[in-house]
């Protein structure tokens, strides 16, 4: 970690900004659960990556952590721009995949996961651009919502966007000083890249049916 890139005067504002970004990311995580059109799913996922990258960049600036800033840049470039564009091209080329029916129960489950995240995270007190209990709870909620999207919807597009959302949760949780933090976004990008590669193959199907429990949803 180096010297903070954001001065002490601006630190409270920057801290509030990270909370705002986190809250927006959480809201978008809930919105993702209800999207039926592939284009909307991809778009909302991309915007969530932008705000998560923004939060990580501000936190990296507060803590003077170049690694965290690099992780934010990777998230922005890959999850926020490159993968959504590639996915959109695949969907346009292959045609809109049949989307699973809307499931109101999924939204309830999402809300329950947000509550669980708020209850699970204990109090923390870390200075210097670090996390607070609230920001960690928001990050955990985004991560769990991403996991829900991956497991509850059989569509490969939803799975891919869910994987990216899970990565956004991770980058929201990342704190200055975490060793090799630049590897964190890769944990979600690598499987997302594989899913994208599989979808781009002519013989692959964009229909639902990836997981036994998710068929027909």
């Amino acid at each position: 970690m180096g010297a903070p890139l954001i001065g002490s005067m601006a630190a409270p504002f920057a801290q509030s900004l990270t909370h705002l970004f986190g809250s927006v990311a959480l809201m978008l995580g809930l919105v993702l659960l209800t999207q039926r059109r592939a284009g909307a799913l991809i778009g909302v996922g991309a915007v969530q990556a932008w705000v998560a990258a923004g939060a990580a960049a501000v936190r990296g600036g507060l803590g003077g952590d170049a690694g965290l800033a690099a992780a934010a840049l990777i998230t922005l470039a890959a999850s926020g721009v490159a993968v959504p564009i590639a996915l959109t091209l695949v969907v346009r080329r292959r045609g809109e995949a049949p989307t699973p029916a809307s499931a109101p129960g999924r939204m309830g489950l999402g809300a329950a996961l947000v509550g669980l995240a708020a209850l699970a995270v204990p109090a923390v007190a870390v200075a210097g651009g670090g996390q607070t209990r609230e920001s960690l709870a928001v990050a955990l909620a985004v991560l769990l919502l991403g996991a829900l999207l991956v497991t509850a919807r059989g569509s490969p597009i939803a799975q891919l966007v869910g994987m990216l959302s899970l990565g956004n949760g991770l980058i929201l949780a990342a704190t200055p000083g975490l060793p090799l933090v630049a590897l964190v976004p890769l944990a979600a990008l690598a499987p997302a890249g594989l899913l994208l590669g599989a979808m781009a193959r002519p013989e692959s199907s964009l229909e639902a049916g990836a997981t036994p429990g998710a068929r027909g949803r």
Binding site: V124, A139, M163, G169, L178, P179, A187, P191, L194, G213
Partner: protein, 472 residues
Amino acid sequence: MNPLVAAVVPGLPFAAAIALGLIGDRRIRGWPIGIWVNLAAAGATLLAALGFAVQPPASSSALLLADPLARHFALLAGFIGFTAACAELGRPPAQEPAWRPHLALALGQAFLGAVLAALMANSLVVTVVAAEAASLALAVAAALPRTPDAMRAARTRTATAGLAGGLALFGVILLSIAASPAQGPDAPAMSWTTLPQAAAASAGALLGLGFVFLLVGAAALAMAAPLHLWMAGSGPTARAPAPAMTAPLMMTMAITVILRLRQAAADNPDAVVPGPTVLLLGLLALLIAALALRRQRDAQRFVAVATVGQGGIVAVAIGLGTSAAVFAGVLHLTLATLVLTALLSPAANRRRPAGPTGLGLTIAAGLIALAGLPPFGLFSSMLLIVMAAAHGAPLLLVPLGAGLGLGAWAMLARLPTPGPSGAAASPPDRATPWSRAMIVLPWLHLALTALLGLAMPIPLVRWFATIAGSLG
């Protein structure tokens, strides 16, 4: 050994994977070059792992872990990688045009390199990312046949690897946040070597939450119960050599993570007590696997479920937490890995003619070993675990005995038909001199298991005691 030289151990398989990808399906006088490059790389990796185990670096570095646990399992992984590469010499020619053998070999090497990196990395982040990479290598291997089933299985495994990796990384982040006040701003980056000291003075609740996430992520990567039900399809569709190494090595990797976590969390009085959590998960895995074994008809699925059960037995030993139990757990993990990889070896899974054959005997011996019957070493390790349970928690003997008994009964009562799905209807594979010779490989694994059960040399007893002592 210089730490940079030790980095050759995981580096060699990755280099071999790239080389195999570049070589492709080139042949010299009909012999595929890739198989020999694969064998040479696996042999070199085994030698490097042996050097790392016998003459380790003086101390762990920022990236490389040189403790007895890492050395032991790196050597075991190197050995399994080598025998899996030898078994490729006897593999019959591919029937499916879509199956590209050089890609399967390259993915097998990438898998081995990722497993070794996860076992030897001192950084928690690298361990998790390498474990996820190993799972993704298997996902790609599963997709090689390109059938709809294979693609679905690959997608399931990819999604699970991403989920598990994400949960585990979140755990690492929480551990890092919990440990940061105790470590101070100028302390070296958090690693497996610094975690126990930092954890002792960390915020207990956050440490416990991080432990839970890392535990769940590691268990999910290893397809522990009940996730194995979701993942059951991905193993059998994968092409060799991945299946021969996958489940046992993933289990080994996950359990080393759990062993290290238990040690770190045990020093903090405010953290979630790790022992009972791991013990309960182990019992759950053992009982679920024991019941599920009865329904398995396919050989590879049967072994995959048996792997879950064996992992459960090891988790019970880790959960008990005494030095004797950890000794027995590490011994059991080593022996079970050897037996399971013997059963998954391509040499033991050829489609064979009906009637009694050497292959059938191999499968039978492997199942007897997994059932915990003498003369194989799993008898000794299971006995040690039962004795540790009787000493520390006598009530535990009821579910543990039920799990072990049901598992053994399922092993002995339902000898599965060896070979891939639908093998009974398929013509037997054409036997070649190489394929006949390669039956020696599973027997080498089984002989080692028997040797360690009947008469373990004193230096090896000291070696296992050192590992248990380093974790106690």
